[in-house]
Amino acid sequence: MTSEPEPELREALLAAVPSLRAFAISLSGQVDRADDLVQDTLLRALSNLHRFEPGTNLNAWLFTILRNLFHSEYRKRRREVEDPDGSYAGRLKVQPEQGSHLDFEDFRSALAQLPSDQREALLLVGASGFSYEEAANICGCAIGTVKSRVNRARLRLASVLNVTDIDDLGPDSMTRAALQG
C-alpha cells in the first residue's frame, strides 16, 4: 500500500557517490573538502527532490548541485584566502604515501595549474562522461564555451606535461622546477 521511493532513491544516490567524489576531489584538490561537498550535495538534493524531474539524468542534476556549491564556497573562501589557486597546487600533493598516487602526481599538478573553469569543463567532458551539452547545462554556459574551455585545458596540459611542444605557453622546465620546489 505504501509507496516506497526511498530504497530505490537511496541506491541511486549511493551509486552516484563515487563519481561525485572523483569530481569533487579533482575539482578541489582536497579529499576532506571534497567529502564535505559530496555530503552537502546529497543533503541539498534530498531537500530539493521535488525539483528533480523524473526521467532526467540524476547524475547531471547532482553534479550541477555540487558544482554550484563548490563555486559559492570558493567565492566565500576567496575573500578569506589570499592565494587560493596557489595553495591548490600544494594541496594536490595529497596521499603521497600510496605508491599508485605517485603515478598521477605530475598529472594532478598540471591539472591544478588550469583555471578552474577549464579544469571543471575538462573533468566533466573528458572524465565524467558527460556530453558537451550536458556539461554546458551543468556549468550554466554555452556549448561553445565548454568546447573552448576543454580545448584550452588540453593544450595547457599537453604543454605542462611535455606531451607535445607548445612553446608560447611558457617554459616547462621552470614550471616543473617551481612545482617541485
Partner: protein, 73 residues
C-alpha cells in the same frame, strides 16, 4: 623534432575538430589528445574505485529510517 611536432600542431589547427571547435583554434594532434585523455581517465578511475566512505552510507541509512518513520505516522 620540435619543429616536426610544431608543424603537426599547426596542421591540426587548420582542420575542424570532431567536437566542432573553430578551425582557427589551435588544436592538439590526436595522439597528444589521446595521451592526455588516457592519463585523465586513469587518474579519475582510481578515484572512482575508492570505497565509499561510511559517512555517506550512514547519511542515506538515516534517510531510510526517517522515511519509514514519516510513513508510519
Amino acid at each position: 623534432m620540435t619543429v616536426d611536432k610544431g608543424n603537426k600542431l599547426a596542421r591540426a589547427g587548420l582542420e575542424n575538430g570532431p567536437d566542432g571547435t573553430l578551425a582557427t583554434d589551435p588544436k592538439l594532434d590526436s595522439g597528444s589528445q589521446k595521451r592526455i585523455g588516457d592519463q585523465l581517465r586513469a587518474m579519475y578511475d582510481e578515484l572512482m574505485q575508492q570505497p565509499v566512505p561510511d559517512r555517506f552510507r550512514d547519511l542515506l541509512d538515516q534517510l531510510d529510517k526517517n522515511g519509514q518513520k514519516d510513513r508510519s505516522q
